[in-house]
Amino acid sequence: MEGEMLKGHLDMIVLAALVGGPAHGYGIIQEIKRRSGGAFDLPEGTIYPTLHRLEKAGYLASHWTTADSGRKRRVYKMTRRGERALSDHRALWQRFADAIDGLFGEKARATARTHH
């Protein structure tokens, strides 16, 4: 997937990855990779500035825990505000996807008519 395309939607991709429950940075990257079937293989450093920005905006909350390894670990979870933002974005994305489908579908039908 094109990096620039991903960057524009990174906030919502991160929020979507947290729908299943709280997770730490590395876990969020793995979740994004898994749920996108490997299509969204983000540069690993990009996730943390995004997490911090989303937390400052009130979409995420975080706290320290201790991992099994004994290391300090920051765990993020979505807030109500984050859930609302994700839901709004999902609706917007659906309208956009439907419109694109309509355009591409129309073109595909026109191409098929020309070939016949």
């Binding site: 540069p43 990009t46 943390y48 500035p49 911090h52 390894s69 290391r71």
Partner: protein, 234 residues
């Protein structure tokens, strides 16, 4: 042997780049080190050094990584500065009002000297205070409603720099108001008999001095931190 040192070095490099905000630097360092350790442990490659090199490469350069925090960190520093100056304005207003109310309550005698000093000092004091309150409110309102962009850009740096300078102007205006109050209250206290009545004006004045001085020092620290942060952008 567990390859720890390059990860610690990377964490230190990131913390150094973010040293303009020690709290952020500590937090990001801990997160990055935890991430890198976990990523190394997760790689299937049996050769430790290759795994480590791969993980470090995937994370990128520490300076470039730290730069991505710049917009959020600058906004956060400016918000803290604005919150402190707004609290200073409220604190000084409270101290001034408490003193004025006390003068009325104890029927503090007003001599000709005090009246003459008030005629000059009060308009200066009021102007400085109203200016401070207006600047502090403007900066705070702007910074609360402003969201950090995903990537730092020069215009955003300029906006934040302007807000921090506005807060410095607030602190300067508060210092002027405090200096005027120092003279006006000083004249009153100089003429008063030393009894329990002078405690309230004296304590409230000391409070004002502490608040104005404290906010000025805080703003100077924040200005220095912001300029260090902006060096990361270049």
């Amino acid at each position: 042997m567990r390859p720890r040192e390059p990860i610690t070095d990377f964490g230190s490099a990131v913390a150094r780049e973010l040293s303009f905000d020690p709290r952020l630097a500590r937090r990001v360092r801990a997160e990055v080190e935890d991430h890198l350790h976990e990523a190394v442990a997760d790689r299937a490659d049996p050769h430790g050094e290759n795994r480590l090199a791969e993980v470090m490469c995937a994370f990128g350069d520490p300076q470039a990584f730290a730069r991505q925090f710049l917009a959020t960190a600058l906004l956060s520093l400016a918000r803290r500065a604005a919150a402190v100056t707004a609290l200073a304005v409220i604190g000084m207003f409270g101290a001034m009002e408490a003193r004025a109310a006390w003068y009325g309550w104890v029927n503090w005698p007003v001599s000709d000297h005090v009246r003459a000093a008030n005629a000059i000092g009060h308009p200066v004091d009021r102007f400085a205070f109203v200016l401070a309150a207006a600047f502090a409110l403007s900066a705070l309102a702007y910074l609360i409603t402003r969201r950090a962009p995903a990537h730092f850009h020069t215009a955003f740096g300029w906006e934040i720099g302007f807000c921090v300078k506005l807060n410095a102007a607030v602190a300067l205006a508060l210092m002027s108001a405090m200096a005027t109050e120092l003279v006006l209250t000083g004249v009153r206290l100089f003429e008063a008999e030393l009894d329990a009545r002078v405690l309230v004006p004296f304590v409230s004045l000391m409070l004002e001095v502490a608040v104005a001085g404290g906010s000025m020092s805080y703003i100077l620290i924040m200005m220095s931190r912001c300029s260090r942060a902006l060096r990361l952008a270049t």
